[in-house]
């Protein structure tokens, strides 16, 4: 029988920095360097607008959504992050296809469709038992034609090409089933729209820039991806730290 002695204390003093080193190592990029830009145009850029349109359809289906922990209204969510997010009925029917866009009404009553690949983030401004109103930040707000014509740098794209759209969406599908942001598969993560209270923020660019699917960035043509400020890079990594903000100086 023995109690912790000075030897034990010394062991703890030695072990703690070692453990910190191990965890610190875990927080480092294993690959190192700046990495290669995450883009679907890795070797060669798009040859035509059609190429960009096709890449954009794929990008719609590979976005990631993160829901903020605040306010408490969204506190009882099982999941806050969804890879390959879609918008569908919480309990889909057999063979029912998912949507990759927010569809709602503007203040003037016109129907607005915002594809996931053009959404940067949204904030819930109000909600009631039937509908939810979102202030959506659209970015990059640029058409494939304009992208190919102007060939902006990442900095130019990040500093501009942004607008806010307010739209009101129904909480339920026309047949009365609750709508939700959902991941792929029957058991994918699900975030019901009705749980998103006022003040809740949804971010499509919150993930670590080294853990992103390159197919998301349909707009990352060589003029953008080769910009030194382009943050999304492929590096074998092991970081807990949040990456730099996606499109802020």
């Amino acid at each position: 029988m023995r109690v912790p002695s000075s030897g034990d204390v010394a062991r703890v003093i030695v072990a703690l920095p070692l453990a910190c080193c191990a965890i610190g190592l875990a927080g480092a990029d294993v690959g190192g360097g700046r990495g290669y830009p995450a883009t679907p145009w890795r070797v060669s850029g798009p040859a035509s607008v059609q190429d960009l349109e096709e890449a954009r359809v794929i990008a719609d289906q590979h976005q990631a959504l993160s829901i903020s922990a605040e306010p408490a209204a969204a506190g009882d969510l099982d999941s806050r992050q969804i890879w390959k997010v879609s918008l569908r009925a919480e309990k889909p029917l057999q063979g029912e296809s998912a949507r990759y866009a927010l569809v709602g009404r503007s203040d003037s009553g016109t129907t607005v469709t915002l594809r996931f690949s053009q959404i940067e983030s949204f904030v819930v401004t109000s909600s009631n038992r039937k509908s939810i109103t979102l202030a959506v930040t659209v970015w990059p707000d640029i058409s494939p034609e304009e992208l190919l014509r102007t060939k902006p740098s990442y900095r130019q794209l990040a500093d501009g090409y942004r607008r806010t759209v307010v739209l009101t969406m129904d909480l339920k599908s026309p047949d009365g089933r609750p709508l939700a942001f959902a991941g792929p598969g029957e058991y994918g993560a699900v975030i019901p729209l009705e749980k998103l209270g006022p003040g809740t923020k949804g971010d499509f660019y919150a993930g670590h820039p080294h853990s992103v699917d390159p197919r998301r960035f349909w707009w990352a043509i060589p003029s953008i991806a080769n910009d030194k400020d382009y943050p999304y890079r492929m590096i074998p990594m092991a970081s807990f730290e949040r990456g730099p903000a996606a499109n802020q100086g």
């Binding site: 072990a15 890795r42 197919r215 807990f240």
Partner: protein, 243 residues
Amino acid sequence: MDTDQIRNEVLTRLEVEREVREQLARQHGEPGASTGKSRWAWLDSKLGLLLIGAVISGVLVPTFQFTQEEIRWHRQNRYESLERQLDSMRESLKQFIAVQALSAELYDLGLAVLETPTTTADPQRLEQWRKDFRALQARRVQQNAAFAATVFYFPTESQPAIRSAWNDLMRPAQQLQTLVGDLLDGMGQGPAGTSPAGRSPDPNEVAVQMDINLAEVNQSYERVLALLRQQLVEVENESAKFR
């Protein structure tokens, strides 16, 4: 002292005794008053006090001391057990980080192959890449096993989640390995490498697919690491309670 004084003192004492007797008689006459001797009265005796002292010093004190020592012994055992578990968990974390390092090597090898035009790849370099690839494959198997064997050191209730996340990591890592292997197989078999179907793979598609695999490896890696780190912190906190 003369005779009168002595007589007076004796009378006074007798008077006091009489009053005491009368008072006692009154008390005994009151309802509810005990008529006999208390059963605990013996405790007031010298023998009683001696026995009580003997019980306290001979039984209660040793029992208390023994219980205290037993509690300390259990605490010490628990502390040492948790410290041993922590050492093993830290070792497991190291093994896991080494797994990711191998994925990084595979990715780098794939990029090197991809960025070398088939026409300029000399046979010696190609053979070296293939050797490197085979060595990486073998090391990967060993390292995966080295980590998988250490999952047992984590708290039992956390093991299913760790294994599930670990399996999620294995899938994209295996795909990355297959992709690099296919690239190497395609080298030297025709222009730009030719797939078994006879179609030359688009270098852009291959590069993007490698990046997709790497992104999935990174995501899964973070999930496993988060689980391991959470368990490590929990056991550290538990250990601190017994320090």
